[in-house]
């Protein structure tokens, strides 16, 4: 979208991700999907996807297996709670910070 003539005159926002930055930085716990237990992953069928359904931030993909965008996942744990197969466990984010360092 091009710069409009009144660009500096109005509060006029354009769509884009990361209004609050990389909200993955909010996490204390990170969700990890165990593909051995995950229903679509182990059956190789389009099925379940509760994690995709209930994710408030839409950072889970409806794919086999589901993937999580850790740039933006806020670590709310809803996916872990709602997974009927118990395939998602929450792990201390500090573990990953150490590894990334």
């Amino acid at each position: 979208m091009s710069r409009l003539p009144f660009a500096r005159r109005k509060s006029h926002s354009e769509p884009g991700p990361g209004d609050a930055g990389k909200t993955g930085s909010w996490r204390v716990l990170r969700p990890l999907i165990d593909v051995q237990l995950c229903i679509p992953a182990k059956t190789k069928k389009m099925a379940c996807f509760n994690c995709w359904l209930y994710c408030p931030d839409g950072v889970v993909t409806r794919t086999i297996p589901p993937t999580i965008d850790y740039d933006y996942c806020k670590g709310c744990e809803i996916c872990a709670e709602e997974c009927p197969a118990g395939a998602i466990r929450m792990v201390e984010e500090t573990e990953f910070v150490k590894r990334e360092q």
């Binding site: 009144f6 005159r9 109005k10 509060s11 006029h12 354009e14 769509p15």
Partner: protein
Amino acid sequence: MHCIESGNVAAAYGVKLARVQVIAAYPITPQTPLTEKLSEFVDAGEMEAEYIPVESEHSALAVCIAATSAGARSFTATSANGLLYMSEQVHWAAGARLPIVMCVVNRGIGAPWTIWNDHQDSISQRDAGWIQLYACDHQQIIDTVIQAFYLAETVSIPVMVCYDGYLLSHTYMPFEVPEAEAVDRFLPPFKPAYALDPRQPANLNTVTLPDVRPDIRGDLAPGYTEIRHNLHFDLRQALGTVAEIDAQFKEAFGRGGSPHVESYCCDDADYIAVALGSLAYQLRDVADMLREEGMRAGVCGIRIYRPFPDEAVVEALARAKGVIVFEKALSYGNEGALCGDIKAALYGCDPRPFVRNYIVGLGGREIRTADLLAALRTATNNRGATCEWLGLKL
């Protein structure tokens, strides 16, 4: 077309000729006949507009804000407490840079309740960021309404067209209604820089931070203070635009020439009365009488109050010995609002005229020419800083 009609009907003709697309209507005395006339035009098919009977004045301006944001030319009108009820929206429309036109049929504000004329309603909104134009007679009402849309859409700032309740709204005067084809040539259709559009989504007027911040491309976007600064800056520039549009209007319709102030016998005047609205015309009779008595009196009617036409005011008043501001409103606890602005404009003049202030006609108290004459006759010296009152009885 020549006609004899009320000021409210003059305004209605202006709105009709401007081909307004969305009208928000809520009744309040003395504006009501204006909205009624518009509903007649729409019901009879003479006007192709959406006529929205809203449930409050706050909603009236909400409808206009949304309609203009979505690309339609919109209009509403109100008075007094109705204007105050929508005050939040008045500020909003200016900050959102929406070219809405609103007629304010001037009436005093409660408490206590009054339905009669004074200027406190529009004066109370002078700091909101709207352009404020005052009409002195019915011809000026219709001409100003038409020009107001052109002005608003050129500078993207909402415009208030103010005229006196009852004194103008309900009295009958002859005036010229321009031909529709001529107005169509003068006033192009509304083409906003941006209108809400699913094909070009944008989120308008959301929370804006104190500081600048990068946008989705990484360019710095303004903070709240820049957006507000730009409103003020553009308002000041609008003084020039008002004059340009007035000149264009004069060329097309043969009327105009005093877009900022309307001066009467000011060139050689020693004492100049200043006023807003129809009072300026009443004061001309007073000036004539004083001239017969040998006093060099003049009248300066302010046509545009915001942005304040300080250059035109200085040009008209600086050479006088005394300036006497008669006004139907005040900044309670201090002095007349217009008086304060006049003094500020004249502050840098050396020498500068003294400024006297009379508060008149609040809540429709009759303004007798004899009283104006008596006041102006004796106002040949600088009696003091605070305002005086004309017409108090008890």
